[in-house]
Amino acid sequence: MNTKVNLAGIELKNPVMTASGTFGSGEEYSEMIDLNHLGAVVTKGVANIPWPGNPTPRIAETHGGMLNAIGLQNPGMEVFVQRDIPFLKQYDTKIIVNVCGKTTEDYLEVVERLSNESVDMLEINISCPNVKEGGIAFGQDPKAVEAITREVKKYAKQPVIMKLSPNVTDIGEMARAAEAGGADVLSLINTLTGMKIDINRRSFAVANKTGGLSGPAIKPIAVRMVYQVANAVKIPIIGMGGIMDADDAIEFILAGATAVSVGTASFRNPYATEEVVKGIEAYMKKYGVDDINDLIGAVR
């Protein structure tokens, strides 16, 4: 039974990765699960300098989901390179660094800094709805998507994943723009912009007013977008948005995703990522699927 998948020349032992921002750089979860079992660890967004993030409360629960407005708090690339990469290198899994920035130059600085580090791929977050300059401005305009992709590709030594925003009229258009700019892989979806109001205090539930909606509530939107993008581009897709278990992961794969990321699920169940890996194998066994690649985009 083959569970290996290939993303732009990088072979993952299985298609299961962590969704950026939900798994830190893996250290905290490594107490509870074996990172060696994951296809890849995708880190929290890394910027050129430390970012303090937003005021609290940063999160709020919603029906079947959650809002977050962490605001990309991160220690910046130097600490990341010195502390987090060596930590992740201990494990037999791929390292994908999520990159954030306020300006094109910010992104390029991080991409350059990482170019000679042991990083397998870069995921460029142009879709964070929680910081004014945190990418979403890039991610909602096809010309900007193409332009930043092209710039990043000039500097990147590793394959480049462009992470798309679902807060758009036509995700297919954004996907084609990224592909035209030279993206090797696409990942989708980032969170949907949402809001919750506390009616008793008559105030916003997260200090930032709006936050990004994630969790199983958004899965149908994410599956639809993965399906739509799979029909729009030729490059591989990493699917995410509300994956709670292996069944959800398989749904994304059947819709056209080559790999999947598990995010919010880890908050509900810290073992979720590992369980998805096992569950995919069980599904393949049950239905006699020899190669996971046969499932990718199998429902059309």
Binding site: G21, T22, F23, G24, E28, Y29, E31, M32, K44, P50, W51, P52, G53, T56, P57, R58, I59, A60, E61, H63, G64, G65, M66, N68, I70, Q73, N74, P75, G76, V79, G215, P216, T264, S266, F267, R268, N269, P270, Y271
Partner: protein
């Protein structure tokens, strides 16, 4: 101290006061490792709610493999928990956070152990562990709970907002009224109370430990949801944001920037 998720059996549940419940939970591993001041995350059966409900550990019975929580029904999650009966199962993750420093309350010292409202429960297990002289000060809005259970461990003072029992006012009003003093303070409760205690401790040059609260998602330090402003640069992100779930919930008062 490995964290684990367990499907744990409810050993018993009783109501202590209006809306305040006490539940004993059978755990295989968490009871063995838990320390006073640590907490657990509880998960609802209702799948429309995804996030953990962090609740402090109120008592630990290592031999029987039991932990106790005392909580107030606030919203849908605690409402669901309050319906559980002996024999029901509940998913819990723990032990989480750092817990109180037992050494800081070594023999020979004189401590204030201060709990405010639903911040009272974790002080019970702590009281058992501190070797020092314990002056226990409990603040309530109205109805009293857990008070008698503290008596074996020290002199207990009470403050109520409505003055229905003990000092009318807050815990520091009780300290004043009784002319108490101490070398070290351990406190858990609402943020305004903790802020006032920090100021009091600073004024009087007293060592002080505060247990903080914040909304949580992962509960283990990975998501950066639950930060509080810290005076020093934090270890994780180097940006003066300490994680309540991992670097806390207990902080030295000077660490926290209210």
């Amino acid at each position: 101290m490995a964290k684990v998720m367990e499907l744990a059996r409810v050993a018993s549940q009783v109501i202590l006061a209006d809306g305040v419940y006490s539940m004993w939970i059978e755990t295989k591993k968490i009871a063995l490792e838990a320390l006073p001041g640590q907490f657990i995350s509880l998960y609802t059966k209702d799948n429309s709610k995804l996030l953990p409900r962090p609740i402090s550990i109120c008592e630990i019975d290592r031999e029987k493999g039991l932990i106790r929580i005392v909580y107030r029904v606030l919203g849908g999650g605690t409402e669901e928990f309050s319906c559980y009966k002996e024999g029901d199962y509940i998913e819990i993750l723990g032990p989480l956070g750092n817990g109180f420093s037992i050494e800081a309350g070594a023999a020979g010292k004189r401590a204030f152990i201060i709990g405010g409202g639903i911040g009272i429960p974790p002080m019970l297990e702590l009281s058992k562990h501190l070797a020092c002289e314990k002056q226990i000060i409990l603040g309530y809005r109205d109805s009293i709970f857990l008070k008698e259970e503290f008596s074996p461990y020290g002199v207990t003072y009470v403050a109520t907002e409505d003055g229905s029992e003990g000092t009318k006012g807050n815990v520091l009003d009780a300290v004043k009224e009784h002319g108490l003093s101490a070398d070290v303070i351990f406190a858990c409760g609402p943020t305004p109370m903790l802020k006032a205690i920090k100021a009091y401790a600073k004024e009087n040059g007293i060592e002080c430990y505060l247990s903080m609260e914040e909304r949580m998602a992962c509960g283990i330090g990975a998501c950066l949801a639950c930060v509080c402003k810290s005076s020093e640069v934090d270890d994780h992100s180097k940006v003066h944001n300490k994680r309540v779930c991992k670097d806390g919930p207990v902080f030295q008062a000077e660490e926290v920037d209210f």
